[in-house]
């Protein structure tokens, strides 16, 4: 008689593994929180989502802000970071809409061409943008920095680092995103002493951009591929012997640039100006290897997004300011204020861990 148990065994094993995977992890393990807050527990807790444009340490800080916001404004917060660009972002949003989410804050990867997705969200729930805006969509407000101004602030750091002028290379993950384009344009316009015009756009393929004192040699993109980002920096050092300053516009660029400059033994010779607050960048500023950085306040992006969405979910329209823009201004960090800033950053992010733990029993209910 054939042994019937044979095929049943692996099938049974499969079901067990799947059950563990599917049911065991039932409650989201890492990125949801709900707070007890000050409000009464009988009120329905709104569920809001915070969608980033990728995975980066920058977003980890924003996530903590969002979690704190969830605690403060008594909302369940679901933070999602798409790994594979627009397609992932779309899938995440649709899945959240299917779950009947009460509001979505999104950093659109390509606002110009994600119109369909943004309308799909705004038809179903409250939509706000953070970090990168989509002005033509039906978003209720934008929370973030004025990226063009931040770019100009970055440009002034380059001027301070290299007052006698010189050549500059710009490194960035992608230029498809409005925030990257605006920052880059801000840097270029500042170095060329042009009037402020966020609508100007120098084609990155058009070659060198020459000003009186400063020349922008090129802008290199890496598509969030860190290996490539470092290779871009190394290649630039190899190609331009007179390279004066490297500007990294996304958080992960400056540490990789710093690595490349160190390896080439050109610390001090090639100045580095950074964007965002990666720990290695901050350490570089402390050590004098990086001149300075322009920081946004991702913690506030997360926190404010949740505040607005939770308010909207409760029918409070007053959370939206006139002009539909909540400005979270950028700051310049140099050697003289880096310690203070870093301490503040640690203070802002550290207590969240504790409150997350405190929130866990509430979330598990």
């Amino acid at each position: 008689m054939p042994r019937l148990s044979k095929p049943a065994l692996p099938l049974f094993a499969t079901l067990v593994i799947l059950s563990v995977a599917v049911l065991g992890c039932g409650e989201n393990s890492s990125n949801q929180t709900g707070g007890g807050g000050g409000t009464s527990s009988s009120e329905k807790q709104p569920s809001v989502a915070y969608i980033t444009n990728g995975i980066a340490s920058f977003w980890v800080i924003a996530e903590k802000g969002a979690m704190d916001g969830g605690e403060e404004f008594n909302a369940r917060v679901n933070v999602q970071m798409p790994a594979n660009g627009v397609e992932d972002q779309k899938r995440m949003c649709q899945d959240l809409l299917a779950q009947g989410i009460d509001g979505i804050a999104i950093s659109p990867i390509d606002p110009d061409n994600q119109g369909d997705l943004l309308s799909e969200i705004s038809e179903h729930t409250n939509l706000i943008t953070h970090d990168s805006d989509a002005p033509t969509s039906d978003r209720l407000c934008y929370i973030g920095v004025d990226n063009y101004t931040a770019g100009r602030m970055c440009g002034t750091l380059v001027k301070e680092a290299m007052p006698e002028g010189g050549s500059v290379m710009i490194f960035v993950g992608r230029l498809g995103q409005a925030n990257a384009r605006l920052r880059r344009q801000g840097v270029i316009d500042e170095l060329l002493d042009r009037d402020a015009d966020p609508n100007r756009y120098d084609d990155p393929g058009a070659g060198e951009i020459k000003g009186d004192k400063y020349t922008i040699l090129d802008t290199r993109t890496d598509g969030f591929d860190f290996g490539k980002a470092k290779a871009n920096a190394q290649d630039a050092i190899a190609k331009y012997s007179d390279l004066g300053c490297m500007v990294g516009l996304f958080a992960y660029n400056p540490p990789l640039m710093l690595d490349a400059v160190r390896e080439a033994d050109k610390i001090g010779k090639i100045k580095i100006v950074s964007f965002d607050e990666d720990e290695i960048s901050l350490k570089g500023i402390q050590d004098g290897e990086i001149y300075g950085t322009v920081v946004q306040n991702p913690y506030k992006y997360g926190y404010e997004s949740v505040r607005v969405l939770a308010g909207l979910a409760r029918g409070d329209k007053s959370v939206i300011p006139d002009g539909k823009f909540i400005d979270i201004p950028a700051r310049q960090i140099r050697k003289d204020n880096v310690d203070e800033f870093w301490a503040e950053l640690k203070r802002l992010t550290a207590p969240v861990e504790a409150s997350e733990k405190a929130a866990e029993p509430a979330a598990a209910e």
């Binding site: 054939p2 044979k6 095929p7 692996p10 099938l11 094993a13 499969t14 079901l15 593994i17 799947l18 059950s19 995977a21 599917v22 049911l23 992890c25 039932g26 409650e27 989201n28 393990s29 890492s30 990125n31 949801q32 679901n78 999602q80 970071m81 594979n84 660009g85 627009v86 397609e87 779309k90 899938r91 995440m92 649709q94 899945d95 959240l96 809409l97 299917a98 779950q99 009947g100 990867i109 390509d110 110009d112 061409n113 994600q114 119109g115 369909d116 997705l117 992608r174 230029l175 498809g176 084609d203 990155p204 393929g205 993109t221 598509g223 969030f224």
Partner: protein
């Protein structure tokens, strides 16, 4: 059908488990999205199944999807040509890519892995260079007509007022049509049988008078054509194309769907229905992970594990079936 019982079982289990674990899963909106995604990946899975059946592989699918997705708006919007010219361009690209892959593999006897790996890099580079890394979009009104292919069935003429049609993605209808044509071609036509024969034993097929070189080229052309078409659908669906990343890893999703669906990487085996099931299982898993609130950091691990388990189960079931057949034959021989 019998061959796909293992994967069908897992599919049903995940489906039921998710439906039980999440109220939002079994809703019209979510199922529509799920079916649409499964259909898009199913389409490219069918494409790669044709080359896998011949014992080949196509690693260039993701980059080729990127190339098609970038080329189409490049021709139609940036160069203001008509939709027809755009479609002809991507059709031509697909045929040329398929013929080139096929000829390099059959005439120069290069490894399919190497040829298509080079394709992966070449197409990606061309896409980026062609548009200087600029994001390409499908927001232009010109694309409205084509976008019906990635919308719901009630946009089709004759179905405007049909209630249920709004819950059926057009991409699903395309998948069904393509699946039927592909299955008939593979199983009921002589050329389909040739492809299977060539995959099982290339030499034997050649000695029995099959022009195996021509059949191999045909398989790569079919794959590129389906990939090109799939790329167009993906592009229309997403609307925003980053030339440096759009389509990344799609070849692996397509290959995994084909393998999950019973295609042997050694060639000679495979069913279209199985490929569709494979693609669906992967999309279903991703959807389940969101719906059940499993941390998305674990997403790839869960999918990888399920594919592995699926393949192991499939292998064990096959062995068991073979042994039982042998026993039965032996019994019959005895009586």
């Amino acid at each position: 059908m019998k061959k796909n019982l293992g994967i069908l079982g897992i599919l049903l289990f995940v489906f039921i488990a998710t439906a039980m674990g999440s109220d939002s899963f079994f809703t019209a909106y979510n199922l529509f999205n799920l079916v649409e995604r499964s259909s898009l990946y199913g389409i490219i899975g069918i494409g790669v199944a044709f080359v896998i059946i011949t014992g080949g592989i196509d690693l260039s699918i993701g980059s080729f999807i990127g190339l098609v997705a970038v080329t189409f708006p490049f021709v139609v919007v940036s160069h203001e040509m008509s939709l027809g010219v755009g479609l002809l361009t991507i059709l031509a690209l697909s045929v040329i890519a398929g013929i080139t892959h096929g000829l390099l593999i059959t005439k120069l006897k290069l490894q399919p892995f190497v040829v298509t790996l080079c394709g992966l890099m070449i197409y990606r580079g061309i896409s980026r260079w062609m548009v200087a890394d600029k994001t390409m979009g499908y927001a232009d009104d010109k694309f409205e007509g084509l976008k019906i292919m990635v919308s719901s069935m009630n946009k089709l003429p004759g179905f405007q007022n049909v209630e249920w049609a709004k819950h059926v993605p057009v991409a699903f209808l395309i998948l069904v049509a393509l699946g039927i044509v592909a299955a008939i071609f593979l199983n009921k036509t002589i050329y389909g049988r040739y492809l299977l024969a060539l995959g099982r034993n290339e030499q034997a097929a050649r000695f029995s008078g099959i022009n195996t070189a021509a059949m191999t080229v045909l398989a790569y052309v079919i794959c590129s054509l389906i990939t090109g078409f799939g790329g167009l659908l993906f592009a229309l669906d997403n609307g925003s194309i980053q030339p440096d990343s759009f389509g990344n890893f799609y070849e692996l999703y397509a290959i995994a769907a084909a393998v999950l669906g019973g295609c042997s990487l050694r060639g000679g085996e495979g069913s279209v229905f199985g490929v569709i099931l494979g693609a669906t299982l992967m999309r279903l898993l991703m959807n389940s992970i969101s719906m059940l609130g499993i941390s998305d950091q674990l997403e790839q691990t869960v999918i990888g594990t399920v594919i592995l388990v699926g393949v192991i189960v499939d292998e064990l079931v096959k062995r068991y079936a073979a042994r039982r057949n042998a026993i039965q034959q032996a019994k019959q021989a005895n009586t």
